[in-house]
């Protein structure tokens, strides 16, 4: 009697499942980056040598262009409007990190205006966003 031998198949790892996972990850990261979408105002960043990471868990960015115009999330506000936004956002999250992104040529009075609001609101910490000076 002839005994039939069972031919062993080589184990195969299917790569098609891998691409599915990769695409799911891709969609996830795309959505996250859409949520964290940052509307930038064209400014020339000031530069310094001793900088540190100032990013917090929750952040509010206040942009000031060279003319002193103030923006939050791409929308222009006057100083009263900025104060209203800061108050609202601090009420929602007291540990909010506030960043001032001002152009290097912006007159200091506009930066000081935002810092005065924070002082009035007893918000003790402010981040001045600066780029690293390249030697």
């Amino acid at each position: 009697m002839k005994i039939q031998r069972r031919i062993r198949r080589r184990p195969i790892v299917s790569i098609s499942a891998m691409s599915d996972i990769a695409f799911l990850l891709l969609i996830f990261i795309l959505l996250i980056s859409l949520i964290n979408y940052r509307r930038e105002i064209p400014i020339r960043y000031p530069e310094a040598e001793t900088i540190e990471t100032t990013h917090g868990d929750k952040n509010l960015e206040i942009w000031i262009d060279p003319t002193g115009a103030t923006f939050v999330q791409g929308f222009r506000y006057n100083i009263t409007g900025i104060e209203g936004i800061i108050v609202e956002r601090i009420q929602q999250n007291p540990s909010l990190r506030i960043h001032i992104l001002a152009d290097r040529d912006t007159p200091y009075r506009y930066v000081h205006g935002v810092m005065e609001i924070l002082q009035r609101l007893q918000h003790r910490v402010v981040s001045l966003v600066i780029r690293e000076k390249k030697p």
Binding site: A22, E49, E52, H55, H99, R124, V125, S127, V129
Partner: protein, 135 residues
């Protein structure tokens, strides 16, 4: 006689792993882009608006910034390099030094950042800055 034509099969896009490679490259791209959004700069602690501190006159280093960005130390114009040297010498003699900076409202923001950068390098505990018209 019937000749059977053997058709060559191209590589299956799902099986070959090209899709997953592409997806992973895109994921890396988005992660790198997200890292670029981290803010860097100075983290400043703001005092309350009515806070006052008594310091000894000998410990006080007065620096002014004019509207055009000229630096003055104790009323005399000085370059940033010279100020750095003098401030370091002052700091060695007076460990409890207070760096008092008076900034004109029209001073370009970069000039203010330069001085704050210097103060951070000096590692001074007492740093006060105010906005006043500097003549």
């Amino acid at each position: 006689m019937r000749i059977s034509i053997r058709r060559r099969r191209g590589p299956d896009i799902g099986e070959s792993g090209t899709l997953s490679d592409l997806a992973f490259l895109l994921i890396i791209f988005f992660i790198v882009i997200a890292v670029f959004n981290v803010n860097q700069g100075f983290l400043l602690g703001l005092p309350s608006p009515d806070s006052k501190r008594v310091v000894q006159r000998q410990d006080l280093l007065r620096v002014e910034l004019t509207s055009v960005g000229t630096i003055r130390m104790n009323g005399e114009p000085i370059t940033l390099q010279d100020l750095t040297k003098k401030a370091f010498a002052f700091r060695q003699n007076r460990p409890n030094m207070t760096f008092a900076l008076r900034i004109d409202p029209d001073t370009p923001y970069q000039k203010v950042v330069d001085i704050v950068d210097l103060v951070r390098t000096l590692d001074v505990d007492n740093f006060s800055f105010s906005m006043e018209t500097v003549r």
